[in-house]
């Protein structure tokens, strides 16, 4: 029984959430990564940074309580939690570049076994721009890619990215609905299998060599 799109996103977000530690400062990219906030265990304190200028990003406000001066990096109305703070864009990226962000979670168009990431441009086709992604990937202490394993059956995890890079050798961990993979000096190490994936499934869905240890864990729905 294959997971539907919603389940796929949930399973990825939930697994990513397990990577975060008490006290972490985390920046979540737009889209799927945003869902990670819903799965933070209650017993740990994670502070979310919004690169448009604040710490303590909270959930969307109730309908009718939106404040046009309080939006996230996707321009959507949000709230700020008690103990949060606002700052300008120079300070915001000082925080990001300066290593004050423990982890960033971003999507990818392509990611490769050297930890290269491409997520800002498909030449001649779609060029949204890098926004804050290039700074986040270079600056955050840990870069976690959260995405579906393949795009319409095509490999997104490659030996070498073919699209313009967002950053070189900065990705630490890739989490998909099929697998958790760590980027190491020797290549991509398969750490865990998704709820419905076998090693053979992951190999087939991956365009890079996988290093497969004796014991590969499993994560659930």
């Amino acid at each position: 029984m294959a997971m539907d799109k919603k389940q796929i996103k949930a399973v990825i977000a939930k697994r990513v959430a397990q990577e975060l530690n008490d006290g972490d400062v985390v920046n979540l990219g737009i889209g799927l990564p945003t869902l990670v906030a819903n799965y933070i265990p209650n017993d740990i304190d994670v502070t979310f940074q919004s690169e448009n200028g604040f710490l303590g990003l909270g959930p969307a406000p109730e309908a009718g309580k939106e404040d046009p001066d309080l939006v996230n990096a996707g321009g959507m109305p949000v709230t700020i939690l008690e103990g949060g703070s606002f700052f300008d864009s120079a300070v915001s990226f000082g925080i990001i570049r300066g290593g004050h962000v423990d982890a960033t979670v971003l999507g990818a168009l392509q990611v490769d076994e050297k930890g290269n990431l491409a997520n800002w441009k498909i030449p001649g086709k779609m060029v949204p721009g890098m926004g804050g992604a290039m700074d986040l990937v270079v600056g955050a202490n840990r870069v976690i890619i959260a995405m579906q394993h393949t795009q319409k059956g095509n490999h997104k995890i490659l030996k070498e990215c073919t699209l313009p890079l967002t950053a070189k050798s900065q990705v630490n961990l890739i989490i998909t609905e099929m697998a958790v993979m760590e980027v190491t000096d020797k290549g991509l190490v398969l750490k865990e299998l998704g709820p419905e994936a076998s090693i053979e499934d992951v190999k087939a869905a991956t365009g890079a060599e996988l290093i497969i240890p004796e014991n590969v864990g499993k994560f659930g729905l």
């Binding site: 939006v71 300008d88 864009s89 949204p128 700074d135 070189k168 050798s169």
Partner: protein, 217 residues
């Protein structure tokens, strides 16, 4: 020195071919009244320095749709398909700059610095034609200052001297742009008396602000 002017007087200062900086992040914290008046005025061949090109129906996004920019120096255009179209069809030049680099370049422009070294963009096409400098064994890109003829920013409370308080996440690029242009016009949500903003809470000093528009609240 009275800095209060009308929207009309403000946009009269903006002429074809100028470089303008505009505060705001996907429209939040942008000087919408001034931007709407600029759409109305139809001034052309501008160069825009802004975080993004907003949405087609909002602020600088409307100006994009109205083809008022010959060049846009921004970090993100994904929310305004018209920008991408103009770029792909060669109608306008789009210079995509990483957001943190954009912030630093504007800050350099306002703070008399000749540039900064950033690790952002190393190993990507952002490094094309830029000087690379190695410090302590690590490679950085030398990124250069940006300045504008006019900065259009938005403040929440602005006193009659020009001191600005920004509310919540509307701050974004506004404070650094307030330092980086020859002429700075702030659109105020509310104009207050001198002394009404605690000097501890002033986020852009009055000396940066040349003109104040607004105060409908």
């Amino acid at each position: 020195m009275n800095k209060l002017i009308s929207v009309q007087q403000a946009i009269d200062k903006i002429q074809d071919g100028m470089t303008i900086m505009v505060g705001g992040f996907l429209g939040a914290g942008a000087p919408d009244k001034l931007l709407d008046a600029l759409v109305e005025k139809g001034v052309k061949n501008l160069t825009l320095i802004c975080n993004d090109t907003s949405f087609p129906d909002k602020g600088v996004g409307k100006m994009v749709v109205n083809k008022q920019f010959k060049k846009m120096i921004v970090s993100h255009i994904g929310t305004n398909p018209e920008t991408g179209r103009q770029m792909n069809e060669g109608e306008a030049e789009v210079d995509l700059v990483p957001q943190g680099t954009l912030a630093e370049r504007v800050r350099c422009g306002g703070c008399g610095l000749g540039g900064v070294l950033t690790p952002t963009g190393i190993g990507t096409e952002v490094e094309n034609e830029k000087q690379k400098i190695t410090v302590d064994g690590k490679e950085y890109l030398l990124e250069l200052p940006l300045r504008a003829d006019i900065a259009l920013i938005r403040g929440n409370k602005v006193d009659k001297k020009g001191n600005v308080f920004y509310n919540k996440s509307s701050k974004n690029f506004n404070p650094i742009m307030a330092m980086a242009a020859d002429t700075v016009i702030v659109e105020a949500d509310e104009v207050v008396e001198i002394g009404d903003i605690d000097p501890n809470n002033v986020m852009s000093s009055a000396i940066f602000v040349d003109y104040i528009v607004g105060g409908d609240k």
